[in-house]
């Protein structure tokens, strides 16, 4: 089965400079979701919600990636690694680059998000 990234967009972005001092650590939180729109049999969506609490700013980003597969999406596909592991692994570098560029252009310390091992995350969620 072939997966193709059709497009992606930032759905929500919130950026605030922190003026008060006291924050000692950078915190990064990531959550993902995927869904299967009822109006299409071959398109599915993968979403990311990222929260970066830097020493100097807060950044919240929500984005959605649209993927197309060359076959009808079945329950077997829905339960497979494709929407949980393969598609997020394809999509995440785009978001990572966006956040790096955004923070660089914003004049703060550029954020280089770590690489994410989605296989490991999925295994951990499945208790493996």
């Amino acid at each position: 089965m072939k997966i193709q990234l059709l497009d992606w967009k930032i759905e929500h972005l919130n950026y605030d400079i922190i003026t008060e001092e006291g924050r000692k650590d950078n915190v990064f939180d990531l959550s993902t979701w995927h869904s299967f729109p009822e109006e299409s049999e071959s398109i599915f969506l993968v979403g990311f919600k990222i929260k970066v609490n830097d020493l100097n700013f807060d950044l919240n980003v929500e984005c959605t990636f649209r993927f197309e597969v060359d076959k009808k999406i079945t329950d077997e596909f829905k339960l497979s690694h494709f929407p949980k592991v393969n598609a997020p692994a394809i999509a995440f570098p785009f978001l990572r680059a966006f956040i790096s560029n955004f923070t660089l252009q914003a004049g703060v310390n550029p954020v280089i998000l770590p690489s994410i091992n989605f296989t490991e995350i999925n295994n951990s969620a499945n208790g493996e």
Binding site: W33, H34, S35, G47, K49, D75, K78, L79, K84
Partner: protein, 185 residues
């Protein structure tokens, strides 16, 4: 034959089991409309799938231990088919009248179920089904359901915010089920 589209919110792990093996009825003591499999359906809300998602997230939280008992939610979309005469619709007067009739006609028996019998819709429906008084497969009704936000803030309205349905024999009335959304909590 009526076709109802319902959305069921649960953990991602349970969703896999449901897709592979089918639904198992909810067996709690405090069910809204009887011991069945519950779905959010169109009615008060035009987007019942979002309510199923919110429900899955709210149910993950174990308030006693202050932890999520699961970390990934899933929303399942199911097609429910039911004969009109086997649907009890508590969103309309006729349906409410049936419920009231059962209470009135069998008040002695119902009261004997317990000294402090609590007249909850679910108990009455389970009683009526158990006694063979009510030949129904599916019940729908409007209820106020507390999701994570309402639970956190202690919001407890009497105004219904959801239309839900309970399916008593999932294998009989649910013709298809598929996962429509899954994600981290």
């Amino acid at each position: 034959m009526l076709n109802i589209v319902g959305y069921h919110g649960t953990s991602a792990e349970s969703a896999v089991g449901i897709i592979k093996e089918g639904f198992k009825n909810s067996e709690g003591e405090n069910e809204w409309i009887g011991k069945g499999t519950y779905f959010f359906i169109k009615g008060i809300s035009s987007i019942p799938s979002d309510q199923a998602l919110e429900w899955a997230i709210a149910e993950a939280w174990d308030n006693s231990n202050r932890i999520n008992i699961y970390n990934r939610f899933a929303v399942i979309k199911s097609e429910i088919k039911v004969e009109e005469e086997h649907l009890l619709d508590l969103t309309i007067e006729d349906g409410v009248n049936i419920l009231n009739y059962i209470i009135e006609a069998h008040k002695n028996k119902i009261q004997n179920m317990g000294r402090f019998f609590d007249y909850k819709d679910g108990y009455i429906i389970d009683f009526a089904r158990g006694e063979g008084l009510l030949d129904i497969d599916v019940v729908k009704g409007n209820y106020y359901i507390k999701f994570a936000e309402q639970r956190k803030r202690g919001i407890n309205l009497r105004t219904a915010n959801c239309t839900i349905c309970s399916v008593y024999e999932p294998n009989k009335n649910i013709t298809s089920s598929t996962i429509v959304k899954e994600g981290d909590i």
